[in-house]
């Protein structure tokens, strides 16, 4: 299971390179073929449905659901821990599942509390 060769990952890098090779020429070709007219001052303004844009494009923005993003940071790692346990489930003893169930219980309790807090919009 472990002890993987780095060379096994090279086809992924090939595919990544092929994606770049497909993307760059099409953009270059499009740049060569397409018309480029620059005399219209309104053309390069950010799109705001025909209005003249007001204020900055990158402004401060209230993220109402920020609590969910904080939860993700913790629970994504926990979900990956479960994979380490799950892939070796058939080769470990049955008693080893009990700590895992306890771990899940702690995780559920924490998640319930976090969801309760993130439901309260006033504090975020």
């Amino acid at each position: 299971m472990v002890g993987e060769l780095g060379s096994q990952f090279t086809p992924i890098l090939y595919a990544l390179g092929i994606g770049v090779l497909a993307g760059v020429p099409s953009l270059v070709l499009s740049r060569l073929l397409s018309p480029r007219k620059r005399y219209n001052p309104v053309k390069f303004l950010p799109m705001e449905c025909g209005q003249v844009p007001v204020g900055e494009g990158r402004s401060h923005f209230m993220m109402q659901y920020y609590a969910y993003i904080l939860m993700f940071v913790v629970f994504d790692v926990i979900a990956i821990f479960l994979y380490a346990w799950g892939s070796s489930l058939l080769s470990i003893s049955r008693e080893a599942t009990l700590p895992m169930i306890a771990f899940l219980g702690i995780m559920f309790a924490a998640m319930g509390y976090a969801l309760y807090l993130s439901g309260r919009k006033g504090i975020w």
Binding site: I12, I18, A22, S30, C49, G57, R58, D76, A79, L89
Partner: protein, 419 residues
Amino acid sequence: MATAPKEFRFGNFVASIVWLVFWIIIIVTLVVLPLIFVILFYVPLPYAGDEVLTPYLFFSMMVDPTRTVPIIDFLIHTDLFRAAIFPGFAYAAFIAAATIYIERKFLAKMQLRTGPFYAGRFEGILQLIADGLKLISKEVIIPSGADKPLFWATPIIFVATAAAATALIPVAPGWVASDLDVGILAIFAILGFFPLLALLFSWASNSKYPFIGGLRALHQLIAFEIPFILSALPIVLLSGSLNLSEMVESQYLFWFFAVAPISAFVFYISSLAELERVPFDLPEAESEIVAGWLTETSGMIYGLIQLGTYVKLYVLAALFVVLFLGGWMGPQIFPQELIPNYTGEKIYNATVVNGIFWFTLKTFGMIMLILLPRGINPRIRIDILLHTGWYKLIVLAFINIFIVLTLIYGGIITPGGLQ
């Protein structure tokens, strides 16, 4: 109305084509062929069959049809071919193109329209080529104040990331570009780049609608990432492996859909959300925020992002097939020998062709299922979406994990299959 110019003569037209062919022949013989030989002189040459493949041998063998089989056999077993053409990017891009056409026709039929009709003799089959030509010949408009390097680079990275994910999909026994022992984790890792790219592009375009769309994309993809990951866990428990090919091989008795239907449902819903498709298309909600994080895209930048999106659709549909629907498993319907009493070098392998056939068929069925909600569902609100992702789907995913654990510890399912 378009008319031919006055000096147009058919003879001139033929002459221009003859000139073109003449110059192509001159350039190929004087520049391209010598260049190939010069470059190949410095490349370590592989073995084809039992002899070293020199450029001279390559060309002579390609001309002689009876000797081309070993060369083709050698070429289709290289890593580069697998990453680039067959289980990799070109196959995925072909399926993506077919998906776009099928989606337009399918939705049109559901809404009693005809869909693409005029390009091409049969049912507008050339519509995609027409669209591609249109996109490539349109001007790319970059809004003032945009971060130009990021604005140009993000669509390319988007396509490249989607292409990297295709390298991990096994389509037939042994036919996968990168057969990793941690295949499913690698796919999750690659898919984790997409919310980042959406946020990056929305930030780079310096506009308000893309910014709102990018934040929505971030919330949505993050909310559905955890049910997405958890819904694949029962398959890891059942097959005892993280390798995608081994997961398929462990389904030789029954599809894992039979014991993990709730997980399959959660996986399907979360992949709809990961793909930003209806009913979860909030990041691109065209009736609320113009086109979401794609508002400032135009021309080929839009085209590349669409290509990446549909390649990603193929990856998720294929992942569903690999995890729940038994991958390439299916009854053998292709004959063992294509030409009876043929004794030369063989390239045709009945098992592989059968696997590719069943895999493609199941993947297309899955793609149709992913396309279906666009015709029948309205969009949902963002707080309902977050509630669905965080409360309901995670609980449903855990229910199926416990069902599978009970089946394994109850002795009903063992690694060898049903008891």
